[in-house]
């Protein structure tokens, strides 16, 4: 999996303030409303795909692409709400965002044993260790976001290391989600850094 959020040369302070005070209204609300329905559909497809993978060892490609598109949509929105990127996120599962990129190659075959293992023990060997660490990472991310907010407001620049740290949190949590949703067989690493070139 590859997930990147481009660091812009400069960030708009007007957009920053708009997002901070009205982002919930003009961004989170309309996207959240639609994502809720798409999320229900995604849940249905996940359930269906689980059984298909169990019997055939292959995730139906159309369903897979839908799930990845759904993840991309959510990440586009979160990247904006976390002030990692300017601009308004596109609606839908198909649009391509040049600032927020998620690439997940389609696996021709998936392990049925891992599928069952995740279903029954995913909470144990993924949820608990990653959840525990992500909890503290989330707190640190909030602190970094708060500091970065002021820096962007006064300088119009997002410090690169801060940007990478916040992006890393998104990357880490996305890897865990994708693994638990049976979209990849690769166990998520305990890092927010990019592991694939």
């Amino acid at each position: 999996m590859r997930f990147t959020v481009s660091l812009q040369e400069s960030y708009s302070r007007v957009e920053l303030l708009l997002r901070t005070f009205f982002g919930w209204l003009y961004m989170a609300l309309p996207h959240g409303f639609l994502l809720m329905f798409v999320g229900i559909w995604s849940g249905i497809l996940t359930f269906v795909a689980f059984w298909v993978v169990l019997f055939t060892g292959r995730y139906p490609q159309s369903m897979y692409e839908f799930q990845v598109g759904f993840a991309r949509w959510g990440l586009r929105l979160r990247a904006r709400l976390m002030n990692l990127s300017d601009g308004y996120p596109a609606f839908g599962i198909n649009p391509v965002d040049e600032n927020v990129v998620l690439e997940l190659p389609y696996p021709e075959k998936q392990s049925r044993a891992l599928l069952l293992l995740r279903l029954f023990f995913g909470w144990l060997y993924v949820g608990i260790p990653h959840g525990f660490l992500l909890f503290f990472r989330a707190i640190a991310t909030w602190v970094i976001m708060f500091i970065a907010w002021w820096i962007v407001l006064f300088t119009g620049k997002y410090p690169e290391s801060f940007h990478e740290f916040v992006t890393g949190f998104l990357r880490w949590s996305t890897r865990v989600n994708l693994y638990l949703l049976f979209l990849t067989d690769d166990y998520p690493p305990f890092t927010g850094k990019e592991t694939e070139k």
Partner: protein, 165 residues
């Protein structure tokens, strides 16, 4: 063999159908588990899911269109039976939990219909995954007519033509 005057298009053979289309066709029948998937056992949900699936996939190919249509049509009578059962159940619960024998008979009948529906849907899903056509009684013919008629489907007969010289 199908002659050129047939109102229907030739059927695709398993080897000609991409795996992706076979999987899409298979998925149509599995929408009957939509209610279970999101843990809301409302009969109408499966029908809505089948409809959404048809809407999203009908343009992909006639093979997918046929299976999605058949899956949707087969859901309609089952959904009606289930909804009546649910309504009747609510009435019984409201009336001091009294369940008349007719209700019990109806409930058993609906359970059997659902069982048959599940079995046939799984058979149809497996056939679709292999790229095979599988016809339900009545609904199979109706879906075939709608999906493979020369005047319907994604590649309709051309409407525009060049000017006559």
């Amino acid at each position: 063999m199908m002659d050129d005057n047939s109102p229907y298009l030739p059927l695709p053979q398993p080897d000609d159908i991409p795996v992706r289309e076979k999987e899409d066709a298979m998925g149509a029948y599995l929408m009957m588990f939509a209610g279970v998937a999101i843990a809301i056992p409302l009969p109408l949900l499966n029908l809505v899911a089948s409809f959404v699936y048809l809407y999203l996939n009908r343009q992909k190919s006639r093979f997918v269109h046929f299976h999605a249509l058949q899956a949707l049509y087969s859901q309609i009578p089952v959904t009606i039976l289930n909804m009546v059962l649910l309504a009747w159940l609510i009435v019984c619960l409201v009336n001091d939990f009294t369940f008349p024998a007719t209700f019990k008979g109806y409930a058993i009948m609906v359970a059997l219909v659902n069982l048959v529906d599940i079995v046939f849907s799984l058979i149809a899903a497996a056939k679709a995954r292999k790229g095979l056509m599988y016809y339900y009684v009545f609904f199979g013919r109706l879906s075939y007519h709608q999906a493979f008629s020369k005047n319907t489907g994604p590649e309709k007969a051309p409407v525009n033509s060049p000017p006559s010289f």
